[in-house]
Symmetry: C2
């Protein structure tokens, strides 16, 4: 429904949200979220460009959120790395189609529903502790 | 939101729905829907396996729908070629997670919304003539 990149970004941001204020190094995020290390770098850079995270180099460095988990929606995170594909004009390039045809309207409506669901969900809603179980933070294989 | 294959399948089925009863050859479907010829073969074979279309070989042959446009939903067509990815168990393989974590629940909810939208839409709703314009059937470059 959304890309692997977007899922990885959500896992990383939810993990960072669990460590407010602290710069978390990439090895720890990678181990905890099971996002491959190099892939994670790309994702974190995109989150940085979108002003969702900030980074610090060197010992004690890493990444942390720029806002609280209540202030970031799942849609903010997804859109930082991979836009949900809305359809504004005829994808077949038929310029006379000022409105979308019913099929393309259906496809766009589906995207809109997903956008809404993500836009109504704060990162805080996705954090461990809100429910009894969470998949994304087994905290195994953490480097010391 | 859905795959290119699923979009192609929808365009092919909507086109066939506009020609009830008639076997339409693949060259005509390809030209009208702008789905590449070889790709279309794969899509039509999947629609055949799903019992949505039937085919006839030879002169006057081609493909036609097995049911009317009112009896086929957009979800039937999408699921014939490419399942909408529902999440039933922890994708990270954590067996102790009997329930989905909030993040995976959000992803599954998004898929469910899309499934519902497609399931509530009949192919008849997507056909030309229900609205003033349609993108998918320019009927240009048709072979005689």
């Amino acid at each position: 429904m959304i890309s692997s990149t977007a899922t990885y970004a959500l896992r990383a941001v939810v993990y960072l949200a669990g460590h407010p204020g602290r710069y978390v190094n990439r090895a720890e995020i990678s181990a905890a979220t099971q996002v491959p290390h190099e892939y994670l770098l790309k994702v974190l850079q995109q989150l940085d460009v979108a002003d969702l995270v900030e980074s610090r180099r060197g010992p004690g460095g890493g990444y942390r959120l720029r806002r609280t988990a209540d202030e970031i929606t799942a849609l903010d995170v997804v859109q930082a790395v991979d836009m949900i594909p809305r359809i504004a004009t005829c994808p077949l390039g038929i310029t006379s189609h000022e409105q979308l045809c019913p099929l393309h309207q259906l496809l766009d409506n589906a995207s809109r529903l997903v956008e809404q669901a993500f836009g109504q969900t704060a990162i805080a809603d996705l954090m461990p502790g809100k429910r009894s179980r969470t998949c994304d933070f087994p905290r195994r294989n953490l480097t010391p």
